[in-house]
C-alpha cells in the first residue's frame, strides 16, 4: 500500500513537472498581459472584432474562421490550425514562424510565464 502511494505520488509529480507551462497560468495576471500585449488589436468580448478578430472562445476554433471578420490573411486561413493551448502558445511566441505570411504585426512574447497567464485568461473568458 505504501509502495503504491509512493508510486502514485511519483507519477503525479512527474505529470505536473512535465505539464506545459500554459497549464499553470494565472488568469488574473493574464488579463493584464492581454491589456498590455493584445488589447489594442483584439478584444476578449464575444463578437467584438478590431484590427484582429475577437479572441473570445478561441480555443477549439479553426484559424481564420470568425465569420464576421474579414481581415484574415490567406496564410492564416490556409494554416489548418485549430487553436488549442499549445498552438496559441507557439503562435504568440513567434507569430511569423507559425504562420508565415500572416498579417499580425507582433514580434512575439518571449516570457513563457506571461504566455501561460494570457492563455489562462483567454480560457477563462470563453
Amino acid at each position: 500500500m505504501k509502495k503504491q502511494a509512493i508510486s502514485l505520488l511519483f507519477c503525479l509529480s512527474a505529470t505536473l513537472l512535465a505539464a506545459p507551462s500554459w497549464a499553470t497560468g494565472d488568469a488574473r495576471k493574464g488579463a493584464d498581459v492581454f491589456a498590455e500585449e493584445c488589447g489594442d488589436c483584439h478584444s476578449a468580448a464575444a463578437g467584438k472584432n478590431k484590427k484582429g478578430p475577437s479572441l473570445n472562445g478561441v480555443f477549439g476554433r479553426k484559424a481564420g474562421s470568425v465569420t464576421d471578420f474579414s481581415g484574415y490573411s490567406e496564410a492564416m486561413k490556409q494554416s489548418g490550425i485549430t487553436w488549442a493551448a499549445d498552438k496559441v502558445d507557439a503562435y504568440i511566441t513567434q507569430p511569423r514562424k507559425v504562420v508565415a505570411g500572416g498579417k499580425m504585426k507582433y514580434d512575439g512574447l518571449g516570457d513563457a510565464a506571461a504566455r501561460a497567464d494570457v492563455i489562462a485568461y483567454l480560457m477563462s473568458v470563453k
Partner: protein, 467 residues
Amino acid sequence: MNILTYARLAWQRHANLRRLAALAGIGATLAMTIPNAQAVPSYARQTGSECAACHVGGYGPQLTPYGIRFKINGYTDSDGKDGKIPLSAMMVVNATRTAKDAPEADKVEHFNGNNNVAMQEASVFVAGKLADNIGSFVQVTYSGVDRTYALDQADVRYARSLKLGDKEMTVGVSLNTNPTLTDPFNTLGQWRFPYTQSDFNPGFGPAAPKVESLGGGVMGVNAYAFYDDSLYAELGLYNNLSKKALNVFNTEDQGKFKGLGTYGRIAYFKDRKRDNFSFGLFGFSADIQDRADPGPADKYRDLGLDASYQYLGNRQHIFTANASYVREWQRLNATLAGADDVHNSIDQFRAAGSYHFDQTWGGTVGLFDLRGKSNSSLYSSVDDTTGLVTNGSINGRPNTRGYILQADWTPWGKEGSWGNGWANVRVGIQYTGYNRFMGGSTYLDNDGNERRARDNNTTMLFLWTSI
C-alpha cells in the same frame, strides 16, 4: 485677449509692429500657437477599436504606439470591413476667465473684456481610409470666436509596407498644410500639450519658431519611412499658398517663400508594450519675402530636440512625459532692413507630464518657456520723439514663461463604453499661469498701460465632444 485682434490693432496703431506683422506674421504666429483640438471617432469606427487604443486617456490627440502606427500606416488600418464612412465632427465649448480684464484695445468683437463663454470651434473631418493605401486627416473648422470658416488642417497620405531583408519598413508620402502636422509623436508644435486652449488666452509669447507657425498658409509634400518599428525619418518640401488658395481656404498669409522651405525629422522609437519612449531631432529652413513687395528675404533656420516617454502598463495607470527644445536663428533682411543688426534668435522649451487613471480621469502639468534676444524693433513700439516704449516688451525681449495645469474627465472612449466608436466627450478645467510675459514680469499692453504677466493668468472650463 484675442490674438488676431491684438495683431489687427497693433497693425493699425504702430509702425514698428506693422513691419513685423507684415513679414513675420505675428498674428498668425500667435494664432498657430493656440492649438486646435482633434479627436476623430471615424478612425475608431474604421478600426473597430475604442478611442483609448489610439489615444492616452481615451481622447485625442496624444497617441499610444497603436495610434502612432495607425498614423504612419496612412490612416488606413481597419477591421477589414468595407463601407465605413470617413466623416467625423467635433465641437469645443469653453468658458474663460482671465485674472484681469483685457485692455480695451484687445477686446474681441462680440465678446466681453473678460468672463466669456464661447463655442470656440466646430469642425468637420474627412478622416479615414479613402483607398487601400490612401487615407486622410482633413479638418474644416468654424471658429465661434472669429466667426469664420477655414481649412484648419489637411494631411492626405499614401503609405505601404516593404520588406528589407527580414525587417519591415513602412514608407509613405503626405500632402499636407503644416510642417509638424505629419509627426507621429506628441512633442512638436501641432500635437503637443495643451491639446485645447481658449482663444481668449494670450498664448505663449510674441514669437514662435517658424516650424510651428506656418499652419494653413503653406502646402508641403513629405516623404517618410519607419524602419523596423523603431527608426522614423521624414523629409518635407513646403511652399506658400497662392493668394487665391488663401482666399479659398480662408487661411493666414505666411508671406512668399523664396525657394522652398525644407522640413526634416529623424527619431528613434522603442515600444516595449508596457512602456515606450522616443527621442529625435527636427529642423526647418525657409526664406520668406513680403508678398506685396518681394525683395530681400527673412531667413529662418530651426533646429530642435525632442523626447517622450509613456508608461501604459495594463492601461489603468498611465504616465506620460513629453519635451521639446527648439532654437531658431533669424536673419531678418526684410523685416529689419536698414537696421544695424538683422540677426535675431529665439529659444523655445516645452514640456508636459500627465497621469491618467482608468483612461477616464486625467491630470497634466505643462511648462512653456520662450526666450530671445533683445530687439525693440520686433517686440516693442517706441515713440520716435521720446525714445520711450509705448507698447509691448519693456526690455525689448520676447521672454514668456509659465505653466499649465489641467484636470479632465473622459467618461467614454473605452471598450464597452456607451457610444463607443460613435461619440466621445471630455470635460476639463485648465489653468495657465504666467511668470513672464513679453520680456518680464510686466509689459505695456495695447492701451499703453503697464500690465503684469500674471494679469494674464487664465482659467478655462471646457467641453470637448466628437462624433
